[in-house]
Symmetry: C2
Subunit: 258 residues, 2 copies
């Protein structure tokens, strides 16, 4: 039974091919044509696996560009796929926190990968990877350097939640001579706090899976764990959570249909 | 009876001296010391009027820096002073829309300058002068040129409410070759819509006073009027609304005490 999940995100398109217990993945920038990106990741996976499209039993598309993939058997929302994939990557996790480049989501599950409730922010850049990008640019560093620069630093208070106002604050703090690492630590805490506010009904969460591009940032992870008082698991494959979920749900659909 | 109202805003400090039916005003940037700015506008007014501080019967301070003015007789919230001043500048107005450099407010009044309800946004740069500033910078023009550049133009749809996401949209629209004036018209409409959303219970407003730095922008005014279906009055002195209100309330206090 061979299935494929394709997650067409606003920035990156990811795909996972599952064949028995083996899997392969690929990703590439979505660019201007979600459909083309989806086609290309599929072709690349087929190439890697030495398969033809006819060998694939079921393809599920997810993510913001999912409806453009007319070659998929089914399209499913990213919340459903994400929860299922995060559960696979961090078994037992009953809460998924996803912070991507442009949005953030908090998904409550039943502990088996099924969504029970969720809350999503894709309207405000605060609490998303975009916030980190704007701040990194203001400080003249790359987003990938942030975690390292802030390691072990006491966070400075960033009082504005808004990306625009916080950017002005950061520029003032730099001008006042506040240590760069402390400002960055404050930025990490700000992102974590914004997302924690989305997960207010957090009482029930025991194990948290942290996914999305920002999950690579150790600083944000640390402040999330502190604020929530819970263990947080970041899988090295966390960027693939949506694609994994789509491929797994495809498999479950086939099994049920038998 | 001589009174002074001083409105220490986050960007500009304004002051009005009332003496009988005559008045004088002054303003200057608040800078880093609200107290000093307050002191300076008072000294300037005394100079202009040829008066000493002892000649002033009552001073009311308002605005975000009001508590720093230890030489004032009283400090009052900007909502109260603003409503009172807007009523003076646009008699009969029962709704005040104020869009400043960093915040926006919608104040419902009884038609006599007394606040009955209000709603304020100082957390999000969208729907404030800051939004216009960010967009003007992205387009390489000055904020003061925006209204002229958009005159008579059909607005393009700006779909993101967030300043950060809207800035990216504007940059994409420019790259696609969309006419600059149409983009700016869309920006004006976006600011107006954001503020109108704050005034949802608008049914009761008949005459609207529009104040704050953004009230100088004809484009934003036009879209506010369209969205609300009401007449909007912009006084040439609208920037002084808070200071006027403070000076007038000072006078009322003296009258009551007699
Ligand atoms: S608070 Fe700031 S970042 Fe959030 S929507 Fe408003 S402008 Fe955007």
């Amino acid at each position: 039974m061979i299935t494929v999940g394709i997650d067409v995100g606003s920035i990156t398109t990811k795909a996972v091919l599952m064949n028995g217990s083996a899997w392969q993945s690929t990703l590439r920038p979505t660019g201007y044509s979600p459909r083309q990106a989806g086609r290309e990741v599929l072709d690349e996976l087929l190439d890697k696996a030495g398969l033809a499209q006819a060998d694939i039993d079921y393809i599920i598309a997810t993510g913001y560009g999912r409806i453009t993939l007319d070659f998929a058997d089914k399209a499913m929302t990213e919340i459903t796929c994400h929860a299922r994939g995060a559960h696979h990557l961090a078994p037992g996790a009953d809460l998924v926190i996803d912070i991507g480049g442009q949005d953030s989501k908090v998904i409550f599950t039943d502990g088996y990968g099924n969504v029970t409730d969720f809350s999503m922010n894709d309207k405000c850049a605060a609490g998303t990877g975009r916030f980190l990008q704007v701040m990194a640019a203001a400080m003249g560093v790359d987003v990938s350097e942030l975690a390292e620069l802030a390691r072990g630093m006491e966070p400075v208070q960033i009082s504005s939640m808004c990306t625009v106002f916080a950017e002005s604050e950061v520029i003032s703090l730099l001008a006042e001579g506040v240590e760069r690492g402390r400002i960055i630590a404050g930025i990490h805490r700000s992102v974590a706090n914004r997302v924690v506010a989305m997960a207010e009904r957090i009482g029930k969460g025991e194990l948290i899976a942290f996914t999305g591009g920002v999950a690579k940032n150790e600083g944000v992870k640390e402040y999330l764990a502190k604020a929530l008082g819970r263990e947080i698991v970041v899988s090295p494959e966390s960027q693939l959570a949506g694609a994994f979920g789509a491929a797994i749900i495809a498999r479950e659909k086939l099994l049920k249909a038998r």
